[in-house]
């Protein structure tokens, strides 16, 4: 393969990984923007989401990569799988907030953050104990369509990942910019007390942020399964940490920043794996994070938060 086709191939791979990281990063950024809370349970909401996706696809009679669907049945199954996974993951996020975080509202210090680590471990161990430690074969009904472009290979699953991610991110963007609740979310992120005095129900805004962030993480979990053809109880940690890095890189709290940050991390991982060595991917990713933060502490698109009065 020539250098240019290698580069193109890794760009294709990187964009797919990056789309998944971006979906996950949005959850970190939405919740941080409103609560200034790093939500570590998000790692494993993503992992649980990929299991929900696996069970949903299995409930349609799919298993492994042997059953291929095309046309309307394929579209129908995928739409249903995304809908069920996102609804269930979103609900999981809402329950986590309601049960473990709302009682801590207004308490300063690390209590809420530590709680999210605890919840993350609970989810991790529930899946480990009930499902087992071995990796599960993830049903993939996509036909093995591929196109050759300039020496690189573009697969149908990658196109699907791009389309789904674009639609979800555009939908989130429109929601945050245009809807009444989306505007209340932005107002709450900028000045929670003032938003409350306009009549905004801040609890409802927080619940919405958890629902949306967790639903996107669920979609990310489904994409993970379709991309790698497996899922396991351990997938939350690496993907979650990279997505969190993406959110910080883009400027945590900033929605477009999380999208761009996710894509960048995906590309860095793909190029680094190709041109340096796969095992060095995390070293490269986190070195770039450290460098960016040294020179731009608020991230690429972030602004340093003014202290809230």
């Amino acid at each position: 393969m020539s250098f240019s086709s290698l580069l193109l191939q890794q760009t294709i791979n990187g964009l797919s990984l990056g789309a998944m990281y971006a979906l996950l990063a949005l959850g970190f950024t939405l919740i941080y923007g409103i609560l200034e809370l790093i939500n570590f349970s998000h790692f494993n909401v993503f992992m649980v989401g990929s299991f929900i996706a696996m069970w949903t696809l299995q409930s349609f009679g799919l298993s492994g990569q042997s059953i291929i669907l095309t046309g309307l049945p394929l579209v129908g199954v995928l739409l249903a799988a995304f809908a069920v996974t996102m609804l269930a993951s979103g609900t999981l996020g809402v329950v986590i907030e309601r049960v473990s975080l709302r009682p801590l509202r207004g308490i300063t210090g690390p209590a809420a953050m530590i709680t999210t680590i605890g919840v993350s471990y609970i989810l991790f161990n529930i899946i480990l104990v009930t499902v087992g430690a071995d990796a599960k074969n993830f049903p993939n009904p996509l036909p093995p369509m591929r196109w050759h472009v300039d020496g690189a290979v573009l697969e149908l699953r990658e196109v699907l990942i791009w389309v789904v991610s674009l639609v979800l991110m555009a939908g989130l963007w429109l929601f945050v910019q245009k809807s009444r609740l989306g505007k209340a979310m932005r107002a709450t992120a900028q000045d929670p007390e003032a938003a409350r005095m306009m009549g905004v129900d801040v609890d409802r805004v927080i619940m919405t942020a958890f629902f949306l962030g967790s639903a996107l993480a669920g979609a990310g979990g489904l994409i993970f399964g379709l991309y790698y053809n497996f899922t396991s109880f351990i997938i939350g940690f690496t993907a979650g940490l990279r997505a969190f890095t993406a959110a910080v890189l883009g400027g945590i709290g900033n929605v477009p920043g999380a999208m761009v940050g996710g894509i960048l991390i995906g590309l860095i991982e793909a190029y680094g794996g190709q041109f340096i060595a796969t095992e060095w991917a995390d070293v490269i990713i986190f070195s770039i994070l450290v460098l960016v933060l040294v020179f731009r502490p608020a991230g690429l698109f972030g602004r340093l938060a003014p202290s809230k009065s």
Partner: protein, 241 residues
Amino acid sequence: MLLEFNDIDTYYGDLHVLKKVNYSIEAGEIVSLLGGNACGKSTTMKTIMGVVRPARGTVIFDGQPIEKLPTSERVKRGIAPVLEARRLFPRMTVFENLEMGAYLRKRGAEFDQDLDRVYSLFPRVKERRNQVAGTLSGGEQQMVAMGRALMARPRLLCMDEPSMGLSPIFVDQVFDIIQQINKQGTTIFMVEQNANMALSIAHRAYVLQTGQVVLSGSAAELRRNPMIREAYLGEMQVPAA
């Protein structure tokens, strides 16, 4: 009475901020609350809006106790704040800020009417409607803050330091507009450090010192009161010869 405080005690932790405070404000009045720093003026505003809950006492709005109601319910009943230090949503546009003021109301003819009213009171706000609020000058931000509160179509407007940080010309303009808004039927309760300006437009005033009402009366009476003249109007007391 539109608004009454009956023996209100408010605490921040162990700090006793408001001590058995009583106010009563009639519909149609401009009432000013005077006092130095940390005397409990801002806490009064937060107690009205429900951001701070009193430990004892009742707050009556339009005949109903409201001290246990959530903030959103108070906004719905017709209380709107003009916040101190012009706390707009800095990264939202001027128009979006105005929309947030009408958050609990339906879009439609009434919303459009109120928007027209705000734009005619503050032509500058109309010019800037698509600009991000954080980029406005202090005076423009104050106008947006007042416009945002009016978008709630309030019966009672609670203003926290409307003159703070404004140039004298802007202060005159802002106080003119406060009087206009009042003449159009909105009752105004105004916390203000600038006693001179406040007493020039208010009907009545309360003076708050370390959490207690030490003086109250009509604006004209208070302007003649020697203590007020010395402490708030910047006049030295001339000892009798």
